[in-house]
Amino acid sequence: MTEVLLTQLSVAVLFLPLLGFAFSIFLGKKLKWAYLFEISTLFIAMALAGVIAFFKLGYFTGKDIVSEFEWINLGNTPLFGWIKIELGVLLDNISVIMLLVVFLISFLVHLFSIAYMKNDIRYNRYFAYLGFFTFSMTGIVITHNVLMMYIFWELVGISSYLLIGFWYEKKSASDAGKKAFIVNRIGDLGMLAGILILFATYHTFSFEKIFFAISQGHLPFNSGFWLTITGVLLFCGAIGKSAQFPLHVWLPDAMEGPTPVSALIHAATMVAAGVYFIARIFTILTGDALLVIAVIGALSAFIPATIALTQNDIKKVLAYSTISQLGYMVMALGVGAYSFAFFHLITHAFFKACLFLGSGSVIHAMHHEQDITKMGGLRKKMPITYATFLIASLAISGIPLTSGFLSKDGILAGTYAFASITGHWLFPAVGFFVAMLTAFYMFRLIILTFHGKPVDEHKYEHAHESPWVMTLPLIVLSTLSIFIFYTPNPVDANAGLFLSKWVKAPVISVPTYARYPFMVDDTQMKQPAVNAETNHREIVYSNQYTEAVHHAHYPAMFLSLLVATLGILFAFMMYQWKKINPDNVAGRLKPLYQLSYNKWYFDEIYDATFVAGTLAFSRILNWFDQYIVDGIVNGTATVTRTFSYVSGKFDTYVVDGLVNFVAYLSGLIGLFFRAFQTGRVQTYIVFVIFSLVILLFLFKSF
């Protein structure tokens, strides 16, 4: 297995889903089995992704495989210099892991959809869109340059639009699709600006070359401040895609799409793309940019967690928990806990996909009932769904022996260590508080759905366990939520290959003065790790940081365990044992409850400000168009019309008049002479005689 072969395989993996998409979309109307072709291409691609991951992680652990080709060469242009655009593939550890996760979850979602979407009128088209989505996401994962990243970024946007609005007969679904797309575009604008700054400065889109140039001290506009600006602008793209505050509003609405789509979009693909992108550009983020990212992440972790407490729609709860967990990852990146952020991205992908598919299974069984207050007691009817859902919930709550415990604990330890160095204690505080909220709302969800007595007896009677194509993905995903796949030691994530060998924070390229102080290497190494062999060092950033993380490990672990248990306990007290009446609590904290129940009024605020503002602005433009622009056009038209009217009149009366007059005159003269031409000989004789007489008088000689 050579590097070239790996690259070729990755390109094959990229285009296989596209093939499936093309087949299914073009032949889907004729061939009933077109979706099977799409699923099989995806299966092959998943197998290939597994092969790539195996060989890359096994044999090229410390080496990044880059392969590129020249796409566009504009040569030496005036004012700008050389413009050469290259496309290519970058296979490093995080990209191959991500590749495998994307395809694994995508395949499981396909499998799940076979049963879930049964009897849908656009069955084949649905699978075509899924394939297209997977293709777009793969492009993001394996690209080696920021331009291709942007292209596939937008492809993800459009395919998410198609999938969220898949049931477009429903107004709310088509609106949700539009909302997701437009809100994403807002973030992408910032990202585009960042990309253009990078290209203008470095004349290349390649990550590798940009990072190298920055590590050589070549900065945009020669200032660290502009590097911060660039980083924040690029982060804007991630804000949109990963549904971070303040652009998180599209994600809850995106629940209008089919539930497997939610699982795909909100677990491993679209929203993960934002975090993945930050991880990609992590090395060029300055201290200030990272702080911005951390603050946004903390807000995104906190606000949706509070909203999730009071929501009654099973998917809405999961949607807000997704934003909250993504906020965790972004915050972790912001505080420098790079590897744990990526770790959480992976573990979250599995258990959140499991939760979404589990909710899909419940919704399927309840005949499209999504309100958890109308469920209950489903544990007995759907044992497999319940068990898998429970494992995934334990994972997201951060209970030991699960993957979520390891990654979440790592993130909390990271924020704790960060706070102990810099004094920003708000980050760990938010982190732990959100961990408690997460445990609470997840178990509220479980208890209301699966425990207790059924609320709606009729629907309960008809509920049934889902077919194997739906339960198998649940079982696989819940199994992957157990610690053993990541580390042999359930309390120490670093014991596993995943963190000790595969995922390491990259060497920071930012000049030392612009970094966080703790990211400045104080190990006195003369040779900072630039070459590939020493790329993954034992010491992350600095001794100071390593020490802080070391100290943070145990307090963070116990604290996180404590808050998670507290959260679960509260949930049981309120909903299982009914020791505390939730309505009383809601009544006691009415303003807070209202705030949470109404989602902090974000939609209302945006409607009142941005949407209404845009509408008002368009009305002004409309007015301007109608009265000024149209006025000018109409004015010109009126002037022209008047002029041509005058000119027409001149033509009819003067020119035509002249011509007609000449004709009339000729006619008149003709008429006069005609009178003489009577055709009667007598008349002519009279003329002759009169003429003779006249001549006689004229020439008389007498």
């Binding site: 055709g679 000989v681 007598q682 004789i685 005689i689």
Partner: protein, 103 residues
């Protein structure tokens, strides 16, 4: 005593001529027009004869007058034949109505 001189002849002949012209111009009947022509010819004859009698021309005047009478007879024969033919075709001898050449 009334003395008949050249002027009397000339006056008579010019009166005849004028009557002939008048007949040609005012009459609508083709036969009447022919009669006008006869009058003119005869007015000319009177002139010939008068100038022959009072001028020094020998018998040339009388000769031409005789010639004109013969000519007038021939002309009357031909013209009446035409008028008869016209009448056959148009059922009229009114010269005003015989205008098919006009169009």
């Amino acid at each position: 005593m009334l003395h008949v001189g050249l002027n009397h002849f000339l006056v008579i002949s010019s009166l005849l001529f004028c009557l002939g012209i008048f007949g040609i111009v005012t009459r609508r009947n083709a036969v009447m027009v022919l009669m006008g022509i006869e009058l003119i010819l005869n007015a000319a004859n009177i002139n010939f004869i008068a100038f022959a009698k009072y001028g020094n021309f020998g018998l040339q005047g009388q000769m031409i007058a005789l010639f004109v009478i013969v000519l007038a007879a021939a002309e009357a024969a031909i013209a009446l034949a035409i008028v008869l033919n016209i009448y056959k075709i148009f059922s009229t001898v009114n010269v005003d109505e015989i205008d098919t050449l006009k169009d």
